[in-house]
């Protein structure tokens, strides 16, 4: 039988606020345990939550970025469960009325000829608080609790079960990861847990419109693990069903060492969170005015920027896509083009040499040793014919190595292209005289001989002659 995998994601993004969602305690990562755990984080009796304006703003930004309905009125609810890193005995979350409703995101899957676009529907996104952390093994028979993270604002983003392969799920997760950083609501740091994905996986016979029983892979904090975990889980479910077994709904963990997913010991009582509206918090009202204010602070979104790059600069869809893959790359490109250099050349350099060098040095584009304006000055020297493309590559290498700006490197390395017609004519004449045999071959109809003559002329000029001019002059002289 042919099987189809159905995948939906729930992503917890830590919002980039200075303070917690319901108190004025700092959210800074990596501080000494419990130094950022205030009375609210500790859930001491009598304390009350007060909602952080910035967290609400982040939620609105996300809603706008995925074209979602933003609720004029949303409600906070208590999700009840017992765990020591949640001292209140409930997590403040949103249940029936989330702040962000239905929206959608367009993703690009695969590369080259097999690439395709797909729309992933967002079911909802809601505000909630993060829990603290448990540290096991601090003392025999005891667990240590650090409540610094307790109360850190989260936006939980839930998709419809729209993805049909591990590749689609990873493409969505990466796109979401880019987007939340693009709009500045999350730092995207997966090692520090700022962006955590839960993946719901089920399989069904291809063509069926009924969903199979799903298992949820919890807390994936790398795209590589996500890919591996989904592939393993899908295979496991198919094999289980083909062997006549059934799938039990479960929460599973991925073990990166074995590459396997394994069901967690089911909690002795099935999840029964007994949600109810939190009487400590009034409904959250968001007006048109609030939304419009946030709109004015929104950066141009990747989709809009992509369309603009295609229309304004005549870039190919693929190129526009690559340049808007992250805010940093887009900013770099825009800053380069803003200096009036040729956009297509700039696009090629940013996606080509710059990105290759960054990869090789394992650097982010924001750390590029060549600034956008420095790159632009190099591109302008190609545009005005001062240097050839080959020479430009040498200049680029030298600039990357910190040897100076484009003009001084062109000067010191003597890379200036010879565009003086008289000088090139002299070189061509010499080449023609020294290669009479090739000239004969060309005249006898061998086209290849022409290229060989161009090569000879370039060599004679030590690569500095303007190739276009060499071509032109050679053609003229040969009467071709």
């Amino acid at each position: 039988m042919e099987w189809e995998v159905v995948i939906g994601l729930e992503t917890h993004t830590q919002l980039q606020t200075k303070t917690k969602i319901f108190s004025g305690a700092s959210t800074e990562f990596g501080s000494e345990p419990n130094t950022q755990a205030c009375v609210v984080s500790l859930a001491l009796p009598g304390v009350l939550p007060v909602l952080n304006r910035e967290a609400v703003k982040c939620a609105i930004k996300f809603g706008l970025a995925v074209n979602a309905e933003i609720a004029a009125r949303s409600v906070f609810a208590r999700k009840n469960y017992f765990y020591p890193d949640l001292p209140k005995g409930y997590q403040i979350s949103q249940y029936e009325l989330p702040v962000v409703g239905k929206g959608s995101m367009k993703i690009q899957v695969g590369t080259g000829d097999k690439a395709y676009e797909k729309v992933i529907n967002i079911t909802r996104a809601h505000l909630e608080e993060d829990a603290g952390k448990s540290v096991h093994g601090a003392q025999e028979g005891m667990s240590g609790i650090d409540l610094n993270r307790a109360g850190t604002p989260l936006l939980e983003i839930v998709t419809e079960p729209d993805m049909r392969s591990a590749a689609e799920a990873v493409a969505y997760a990466k796109k979401l990861h880019d987007l939340v950083q693009w709009i500045g609501i999350c730092d995207g740091n997966m090692q520090e847990g700022s962006f955590r994905c839960d993946v719901n996986v089920s399989v069904r016979p291809k063509g069926s419109d009924k969903l199979g029983t799903r298992r949820e892979i919890k807390n994936l904090n790398s795209f590589k693990f996500m890919q591996q975990a989904i592939e393993y889980e899908t295979q496991w479910q198919i094999e289980t069903l083909e062997d006549g077994g059934t799938i039990q709904q479960a929460t599973v963990l991925f073990n990166p060492d074995s590459g396997e997913t394994r069901a967690m010991r089911s909690k002795e009582e099935a999840n029964d969170y007994r949600y109810f509206p939190d009487p400590d918090l009034l409904p959250l009202a968001i007006s048109e005015n609030d939304i419009n204010t946030v709109k004015t602070e929104m950066p141009e979104l990747p989709e809009a920027m992509k369309a603009r790059f295609e229309a304004q600069y005549g870039l190919a869809h693929y190129d526009a896509n690559a340049l808007t893959s992250s805010r940093a790359t887009a900013d770099y490109f825009v800053a380069t083009v803003d200096t009036d250099c040729d956009a297509k050349l700039a696009a090629n350099w940013v996606m080509g040499s710059v990105s290759a060098k960054l990869n090789a040095d394992d650097k982010e584009i924001s750390e590029s040793p060549i600034s956008p304006s420095a790159l632009a000055s190099l591109i302008k020297r190609i545009q005005d014919g001062t240097i050839s493309n080959n020479a430009a590559k040498q200049v680029f290498e030298a600039m990357w190595a910190g040897e100076g700006d484009a003009d001084s490197i062109i000067e010191s390395k003597g890379l200036k292209q010879v565009s003086d017609t008289g000088a090139i004519e002299a070189i061509v004449d010499e080449v023609l005289a020294a290669n009479a045999a090739m000239v004969e071959e060309f005249k006898a109809g061998k086209e290849k001989a022409f290229n060989a003559l161009v090569g000879q002329a370039m060599k004679a000029s030590k690569g500095k002659a303007n190739p276009a001019q060499v071509n032109e002059i050679l053609k003229k002289k040969l009467g071709a």
Partner: protein, 95 residues
């Protein structure tokens, strides 16, 4: 909707409340009474009425995103039963 004593035990367990069999029976009677009241209320036609999530018809006031809390770990941990290296210690929990 009717409850039995197994439901009562389960609810008590979820809320981590210890109830004896006698208490469970008493609770069953009380909760059944409350559910009866709810059933009565559910008979009212509420079509078109927005559910009330708070008794006051006002909305949430928001706080500026400014750090106002200072580190008072020492004070807070002075009343904790067990601490080590700044961590609160609790009986071992492993999921």
């Amino acid at each position: 909707m009717s409850l039995n004593s197994a439901d009562i035990k389960r609810i008590a367990h979820l809320a981590r409340i210890e109830v004896s069999d006698a208490e469970a029976d008493a609770t069953l009677t009380k909760l059944t009474g409350i559910l009866g009241l709810i059933e009565q209320m559910q008979a009212v036609d509420t079509t078109g009425i927005v559910p009330m999530s708070h008794s006051q018809d006002v909305t949430q006031r928001l706080r500026d995103d400014v750090v106002t809390e200072t580190n008072q770990r020492e004070l807070f941990q002075s009343i904790a039963p067990a601490v080590e290296d700044g961590l609160y210690l609790v009986p071992k929990v492993i999921e």
